[in-house]
Symmetry: C3
Subunit: 136 residues, 3 copies
């Protein structure tokens, strides 16, 4: 198992950042032929999800709908005022597994992996473990 | 690590399809004794979850409640009109890990694994990786 | 891959129980140096999530907000009257992966792993698989 860390800079309060290219880069860098890449977000107001990469309206619809479900201003006690972001993080989750075969991630045609910023802009970290069969 | 792919045919707009039998079939087919089966849904309007298999009202309650949280008709821009399904997919997630011991999945008494169709009916795919100790 | 099981006793209807110490205990008990711990909740009205451990208001805000999204009393048919708990379980999920390096879980400063009780109080079980390089 190999471990890689990447810096992510978010630029908005809420934003889904496509990190699929980081997975391809991790595959190249480690020489993974087949196996699994597991992404982990070490933050409690951000998360990871897989969703559509074709029409950017999907991601903006998702952010707007999540705001209705877990409103930014709400019945919260947490003094930092970002409980909505903690809720969204637990809803989408902070880990995501991706299968790799023949040096490529096995994702559906429309799937990309997104780092979900719910309380930015901030400097964030993305951690990956890479397991399987590697090039010599 | 072994990789298997299964076809899933959904028959409704929204439906939870019990795929626990596919896991048992994957264990038999690969000869897995102990390890992990990881399921992956390569679609952005479907997902995977584990929930109750005894009373079918649980699953129908879940579909109805998710419709209240992420309504089919809502304040969405995505031209395909299925943003609700993308949201439900990210809420339940597209991967699910199941532990295997003595050739059996370790699931609670009431747990089954469901392929969650949120924008059917469609032909879908279910991908599984199988890792661990195998029969000779 | 090693397998461990722990008993968890919840004391309220809904409660997030910090189980990070169980992960540290599993690392010590198995001699894991680096690898992964995967937690699994074998229940359909409980789950697992990672979230903030510093201000306890975050967790209580989360439980209260989840009650608004998936109300305890609602338009449900399930005869046991706990469909809200099934929904919350599928929302946060029943598995959680944690990376281990140098005998320590790699978690963010504010992250802890929580066993989420949504239909307690009950005696529950927490299952863990431990994979990677172990001490001799």
């Amino acid at each position: 198992m190999k471990l890689l860390k990447y810096d992510i800079q978010s630029t908005k309060l809420q934003e889904f950042i496509n990190v699929s290219s980081y997975i391809k880069s991790a595959i190249r860098e480690t020489g993974l032929i087949s196996g699994k890449v597991t992404l982990f977000c070490p933050h409690t107001t951000a998360g990871l999800t897989i969703n559509e990469n074709a029409d950017p309206d999907v991601v903006s619809d998702m952010i707007r709908a999540l705001d209705k479900v877990f409103p930014i201003i709400g019945d919260y006690d947490h003094y930092e005022g970002n409980s909505h972001a903690h809720l969204k993080s637990s809803c989408v989750g902070v880990d995501q597994m991706v299968i790799v075969q023949n040096k490529n991630p096995i994702l559906g045609t429309w799937q990309s992996v997104y780092f979900c910023e719910f309380d930015g802009p901030r400097k964030r970290q993305l951690i990956m473990t890479i397991e399987g069969e590697f090039d010599e």
